[in-house]
């Protein structure tokens, strides 16, 4: 290999590594298997698991009606579901909240994605999916094969959410 070729390869490798490391820092660990005991109950009382959504890129967004930054973020998630749903994105909204409060908010905002309710269930799922702070919003991205691609604590900006989804949608 020529010196020029070596420099190119080294720069390419360093750049790729830096990009991956910074992305991993931004969105948490990648490639972890999905915990089996992640369950959610919908507003009609039916149980669901993340395995029900295999084959889709799933963005699980934990929220609550008492959480101001969650409500700020929800219009972005509505838009994301409408824009990318046909390409395989599925947003899910488990709420650490009372079913009646979630139902009222869902109906008022006409949420185009499934929401679930239950304090204990949501808290357990957050912990199982790697949350350590216990705060909301908390989001987890799951690959179509069921692997955790990353975690995000706090609210997304529009550009962060768009970049995240477009990076992972084929």
């Amino acid at each position: 290999m020529s010196v020029r070729g070596f420099v190119f390869a080294a720069l390419l490798g360093a750049a790729g590594f830096a990009g991956f490391a910074l992305y991993a820092h931004w969105f948490g660990q990648t490639g972890a298997p999905l915990p089996p005991a992640t369950r959610f109950t919908d507003l009609e009382g039916k149980p669901h698991t993340l395995a029900d959504y295999r084959g889709k890129l799933v963005l699980v967004n934990f929220w609550a009606t008492w959480c101001a930054p969650c409500l700020t973020e929800i219009p972005l998630l509505i838009e994301a579901q409408k824009t990318y749903g046909a390409r395989g994105l599925q947003v899910l909204g488990p709420a650490m909240d009372r079913p009646e409060a979630v139902r009222a908010y869902r109906d008022r905002m006409q949420l185009p994605y499934p929401v679930f309710a239950g304090d204990t269930e949501a808290a357990a799922a957050m912990t199982a999916l790697g949350d350590t702070e216990g705060g909301l919003p908390f989001s987890v991205l799951v690959s179509p094969a069921g692997e955790v691609l990353g975690r995000h604590v706090g609210d997304f900006t529009e550009s962060e959410l768009k970049r995240l989804i477009e990076t992972h949608l084929k």
Partner: protein, 147 residues
């Protein structure tokens, strides 16, 4: 020459993307567990009063509206709680409200002993809210000194 130029271009564009990610709000977000964000201090009892205090970390706040105190024991009597004036705050959810974004101390007229239930809720200014917290504390109130 062309290869070197391409390599430098690639490195520069990656650095630019990385810089963008690092400067985004999410990159800077390293949130605290709730008990570190709002550190409840041991309850003090003096002269017929209980003092409940929190160390509120910078860039965090408690909602005045979401503070509540109640007795869980017949032997503990609480008087009316007068909360300190908070800082005016415009909240997405609550509208115009008041918050405490620095250390907070609340005095509660009380007598007897038993379990004091304390409820509070707050957020980090960077965009995270903690669920309502409830703590049950065993307290014993020292009687007020007679003049």
């Amino acid at each position: 020459m062309r290869m070197t130029f391409l390599a430098v271009l690639l490195a520069a564009s990656t650095a630019s993307l990385a810089s963008d990610l690092m400067s985004s709000p999410a990159a800077a977000q390293e949130f605290l567990p709730v008990d570190q964000a709002f550190e409840l201090q041991p309850v003090e009892s003096n002269n017929g009063q209980l003092t409940v205090a929190w160390r509120v970390r910078p860039e965090h706040y408690l909602y005045k509206l979401r503070l509540a105190f109640s007795s869980q024991s017949p032997g503990l009597k609480l008087g009316a709680v007068k909360l300190p004036k908070g800082k005016p705050y415009k909240d997405e959810l609550l509208g115009d409200t008041e918050i405490y974004d620095s250390d907070l101390q609340v005095s509660i007229p009380a007598s007897g002993s038993g379990t004091l239930k304390v409820t509070y809720q707050g957020c980090a200014k960077k965009g995270l809210c903690y669920p309502p917290q409830t703590r049950e504390l065993n307290v014993s109130v020292a009687a007020a000194k007679k003049a």
